[in-house]
């Protein structure tokens, strides 16, 4: 404690720039200034013409101002105050961008019947990425729990508000969503269902395999090498290879079955490996004490080893989940209606908005899984072994 505050004191006169946040802010700035935030297209499939920043109305200028503010804060402020200012700027930038997009869409393609569309430009993606980096840096600098949660809530409020009143409904990707309708939601649920089912299977198979690996040397050698090799097979190749054994069993080589098999296989490695590592890194003296006090092997596993291995195990599940949410797009090639289908159709028909309608939700699902499983990990980790006590 004393050492920490001493070093903080020493830093105070010579403020350190928050380099990560500065990078994010400059990225967002570049997105606004150097690239088009939005593009106007005559109809659904032609390429767009870039629009100027001002097309987004007042919100666009606010976005610019917030990016500059974030950059300034990262250079000139310090400590908790800086983290909070950066966090507020990050939320503000995301909100302002949405309103600017909505404004441009509502003003340039106001007519529901006209084929003209305003779509999200490259600059907008760069700006979102920049704002996300600022957000990440700010949260890392410990603005306090209330601010962290508050920022998330504020973001949700801003997104909902922009969707309802900000003209987002006239944006090309939203129009595309309106066109796709039920097909979109079916793709979302198929995606989640395939990834979720596979993850469930992978946990059910992988955890026992990991436990067995930690107990029996030959099992470890066999399991870890087989699972490792399977991991190196490219996903499309694995789907192709699965056709043969499935056909031999009289089972279809396309559809959900091979998809679930493939996704389960990919999810296995991180789960098996992390279960194994989690169990073997338990301090041997802890195990010895437990045995010496009369715990049975099962009690030792469930009461001591499993809780100690749990954080690492869940980290494996998280990595597996994020990975197979990505691979679930690929199984669209063997007749599964995941979000991958929208991406493929979008490519085929050169409808960028359709591609985005597949890609953006995929990212959101992966982020949600990541955040959710991290939170679950914190929940099941005893404060006694938590990395940082917040």
């Amino acid at each position: 404690m004393g050492v920490q505050s001493a070093s903080v004191d020493r830093q105070r006169p010579r403020r350190r720039t928050d380099r990560v946040a500065a990078t994010g802010a400059i990225l967002a700035l570049a997105g606004c200034v150097a690239l088009p935030l939005y593009a106007l297209r005559a109809n659904r499939i032609v390429n767009g013409t870039p629009l100027s920043l001002g097309a987004g109305g007042p919100a666009a200028w606010m976005l610019l101002a917030l990016a500059i503010a974030a950059a300034t804060a990262s250079f000139s402020l310090a400590g908790k105050l800086r983290a909070r200012v950066e966090l507020a700027c990050a939320v503000g930038m995301m909100g302002a961008l949405l309103w600017a997009l909505g404004f441009a869409a509502a003003h340039l393609a106001p007519d529901v019947t006209s084929p003209a569309r305003v779509s999200i430009g490259a600059g907008a993606w760069v700006a979102v990425a920049g704002a996300a980096v600022v957000w990440f840096a700010a949260v890392h600098a410990r603005p306090g729990r209330a601010w962290r949660v508050g920022a998330l809530v504020a973001l949700v409020v801003v997104v909902v508000a922009a969707a309802m009143w900000g003209g987002l409904g006239r944006l090309s990707i939203v129009l595309e969503y309106a066109v796709q309708g039920a097909a979109f939601w079916s793709a979302v649920w198929t995606h989640i269902a395939l990834a979720g089912t596979s993850l469930g299977f992978a946990v059910a198979i992988g955890v026992p395999l990991g436990v067995a690996s930690s107990r029996i040397p030959w099992v470890r050698t066999a399991v870890l090498s087989i699972v490792g090799v399977m991991q190196t097979v490219p996903s499309l190749a694995l789907l192709g290879l699965l056709v043969v054994p499935l056909a031999a069993l009289g089972l279809p080589g396309i559809g959900p079955l091979p998809a679930i098999i493939a996704l389960t296989v990919y999810a296995l490695l991180p789960i098996v490996r992390n279960t194994y590592v989690g169990l073997t890194q338990v301090d041997p003296s802890v195990v010895d004490a437990g045995r010496g006090m009369g715990m049975s092997r099962w009690q030792l596993l469930t009461r001591v080893e499993a809780p100690l291995a749990m954080p690492l195990l869940l980290e494996g599940v998280r990595a597996a989940a994020v990975m197979i949410i990505g691979i679930a797009a690929v199984v669209a090639f063997i007749g599964n209606g995941t979000l991958g289908v929208l991406v493929i159709l979008g490519w085929g028909g050169q409808v960028d908005d359709l591609t985005l309608l597949g890609a953006v939700p995929m990212v959101l699902i992966a982020v949600a899984a990541d955040v959710g499983l991290r939170a679950a990990g914190r929940l099941v980790t005893s404060p006694g072994i938590r990395m940082e006590v917040s």
């Binding site: 802890v286 010895d288 004490a289 437990g290 009369g294 006694g384 072994i385």
Partner: protein, 380 residues
Amino acid sequence: MIRLEEVTKRYGETLAVDRLSLEVGEGEVCVLIGPSGCGKTTTLRMINRLIEPTSGRIMVGDRDITSVTPEELRRGLGYAIQSVGLFPHLTVAENIVTVPKLLGWEASRMQARVGELLSLVGLDATSYRGKYPRELSGGEAQRVGVARALAADPPVLLMDEPFGAVDPLNRERLQGEFARIQKELHKTVVFVTHDVDEAIRLADRIALMRDGRLQQYDTPENLLDHPASKFVHDFMGADRALKRLGRVRVDAVMRSEVPRISDGSDAVAAAQRAACTAERFSYLVDQDGRLEGWIDCRLLDRGGSAESAITHVDWRATTVRPDTSLKEALSHMLELGFRSIAVTDETGRLLGDVALAGIETTLTEGDAYSAGGPAEGGAQ
């Protein structure tokens, strides 16, 4: 209470323990000692079946230990090890009730037991209950480890170098506390160490091993005075007289009638009253009896000012506790250059003192040192 009969453990070519026969009486502390690799740990772990002997038989109570399952056996034998092995994800309280939980005690009984045990090992129950092991110092962790071993009140304690990883000052304190607890609880203890002083201080009997074989099994006194072989003699060390002092507690030779002056309000008046006593030094204490220093009366007699005759001291640095060993007290005295040293309780209240002369008497009187041994009446 514990009997090993011709117990042998073989690892391939190496004989870790070779036809070891040993009997530990009820309420006795048996210390296994010997050079590293002589088979102490192996012997200890065979008693709770963490290691199965190659041959031979081990009895605990009047049961062959193979007549029950290893788990059932171990729940009746307290187990503490050098690395402690506290469960890092559980609180101090949860760690302590490990065995009671396995035995299915009621929650309220376990709660109460935690409080009892924490105060027994000298930790404040309210502030330590909810702590996690990583928040404990080495000495505190070791105390919790001992509390955990004692949790279900097992008649037998198995301890493998329990104080081996603690710094010397804390080790000395933990040994004192162990001796106090043992005096209270009368457990049958098998205690592994490689520290001769620790063995002499804590043991009723010492089993000295070498290469898996028992060299001598006897009281510390006999090991020091009548070593069975040159190896035993050399292992116990040359300073045998000094080592014996490790077995005697300060309170066994402490003089409690010491001249003392309560400082009251006026130090000068106090100093003048000190001049009346026959002794050269008078201890100076505050109203609560806490040691503040002493007065040299000879300086007063020579007409020195009261101020110059008073030495103020911090009791923490210049006194010993009643359960300190005489060896420790002697080394303190030599370090400070005193011919006597004050004895206080944990709060600094003056209880008496020990003089160099008193220690000399102990050294020459053969029987004096068994009187204040850690297990009174346990050893002859």
